[in-house]
Symmetry: C2
Subunit: 332 residues, 2 copies
């Protein structure tokens, strides 16, 4: 194992042909006689020759590879997003490089390094600073995923305003007062949008909104922690609007674990409509977001945009509220 790989030249010598012919055979391009082709193919097979990617990309001036940058990858959200992205990349014969920043300090360097290894980069939310985004965009095509377009960098995102409908539903249809919002607006553009839609809905319903959101992460464990913060206080909220389903699920688990009734004592809503949302008891009222399609659209935009610039600059995908029982609606 670990044998040094053979090069075109060596294969050419072994098959007694020129490197050009080996290349033609291995790429299946150009004209090669039946006999020669078979001979070369046999040698290639025998020695397990595979053209070096670095040699190839140097010659072709492309990597056949795009990258997608995430802040982290816990939860089903990123998994779905990746699958949507990869499905389209694959269709275009392009590889996908996943880069996770984990909110590290040197994340920007990693992303800049990526820029010289791929033909295009999709960057999620605000994983990198604006300044870095600009520098990267100067080197390779970039698409912002789940964030706002900027300086000629196109974006693909979901319509977050629908969480306003959910909020209105809680305030008006159910008549709840004292709502809480769980999520850090400074953490991601998506959460910023959702927090703003939450506030806007309050304004429209002429109900005072809470001054601050419960600033926590987007994982289930954060939802459980939020339950601790909100439900153990002396004036617990009547309903909790969570920035995503994971925190809503954590919140639900925390509430039930305290012996509270959901939605009787506290109503809970989420965002995403992940599989678990319809599997828990009570089922989760949420906003359905086409996560997979979000990834797919991003990949298409990125890959097609590699050549022609100035197409779509801001693709906003539609979302829809899904009313189940965790908000207080009867089971249908």
């Amino acid at each position: 194992m670990g044998n040094k790989r053979l090069t075109v030249r060596e294969i050419a010598k072994l098959a007694d042909v020129s490197v050009a012919t080996v290349s033609r055979v291995s790429r299946g391009t150009g004209q090669v006689s039946q006999e020669t082709r078979e001979r070369v193919l046999r040698i290639i097979e025998e020695y397990g020759y595979r053209p070096s990617q670095m040699g190839r990309s140097l010659a072709e001036q492309r990597h056949g590879m795009v990258a997608i940058v995430f802040p982290g990858l816990a939860g089903p959200y990123f998994s779905e997003l990746t699958q949507g992205f990869e499905s389209q990349a694959m269709e275009a014969g392009t590889g996908v490089h996943i880069l996770v920043t984990h909110h590290r300090d040197d994340a920007d360097d990693s992303v800049l390094d990526m820029a010289s290894r791929v033909d295009g980069i999709a960057i999620h939310g605000d994983t990198v600073r604006t300044e870095t985004l600009r520098r990267i965009a100067a080197e390779v095509p970039v698409v912002v995923l789940a964030g706002r377009p900027m300086d000629g960098v196109p974006a693909v995102r979901a319509d977050n305003s629908t969480i306003g409908e959910l909020t209105r539903h809680l305030l008006v249809d159910h008549g709840y007062r004292r709502l809480a919002f769980v999520g850090s607006p400074d953490g991601s553009p998506d959460v910023t949008d959702r927090w703003e839609a939450f506030q806007a809905a309050h304004k429209q319903a002429r109900v005072p909104a809470p001054r601050n959101p419960v600033r926590l992460g987007l994982q289930q464990s954060d939802g459980v922690r939020a339950a601790g913060e909100l439900l153990d206080g002396r004036r617990p909220p009547r309903a909790v609007v969570c920035a995503n389903d994971e925190t809503a699920l954590g919140m639900l688990i925390g509430a039930l674990g305290r012996g509270l009734s959901v939605p009787g004592d506290v109503a809970i809503t989420g965002f995403d409509d992940v599989p678990m949302a319809s599997l828990v008891q009570p089922r989760l009222t949420t906003v359905r977001q086409p996560i997979r399609e979000l990834g797919a659209t991003t990949a298409r935009l990125l890959i097609s945009g590699l050549g022609n610039r100035g197409a779509v600059m801001d693709a906003v995908l539609a979302t829809e509220p899904v009313f189940r029982e965790s908000c207080g609606c009867p089971r249908t």
Copy 2:
């Protein structure tokens, strides 16, 4: 944006020096006069020059990049694993390429393609077929992560036998009969080991083990489904040993959602000890696995082993049972 990037030659011309000097400056290697260095540095800065990775790796005969291959990335497990892996890779100045197969048919091709883009590959469980693993190992150094060593390919894994202790605890200490196991042994080596340890513990306690495991995936939603299969039947199990925490959590949610008492009606155990395990009510009895260390060890072995072969062949990391309340133990 999208400006074609400058090459060493162009920078050299602009700074009025040779390409060698530019290279020396940008790499910080060799001897360059203070004055020249500053001049070149200024030009590099001004034009935002960054050496092309493909040119560099072609010249250096290395990529400065290793890959880690996963079957999927839902749940906190892969997130932790990745962070451990990346922390070590980073320390060695190596980039990390994450490849997710999603159990696709053409996954093996993707992995083979990776082989010519990186200096080494860590492959999780059995994401690829044995035959493919062999071919890859013939091209680049490979380490199996959470699987068995094979044909000179080293492995890093956790001690799965501890789930036997947990099973014994349920059978002997608590005296439970009719246990069920949730997880697909054919899905991954880890689950195979755990299923076998589960069976072995039964044998040792002279209690008949169930003939078959509940063959489902490793996500929370699978746990909820397992709850449906097991708890709605006419002879529900007294205790359920789940292959990981995610399914155990799903199981717990499913049980509680049915109005059952845990551990009163049914005891539940997991594997991993993820953060949620100690946050739910009742807290989850499980096996603690050093996930992050698993990733870190793999990276170290892979990167150090790039040069010297024949070091560690099978690193088995210790695990420990964590008894909480979901198995029936009193809260301590």
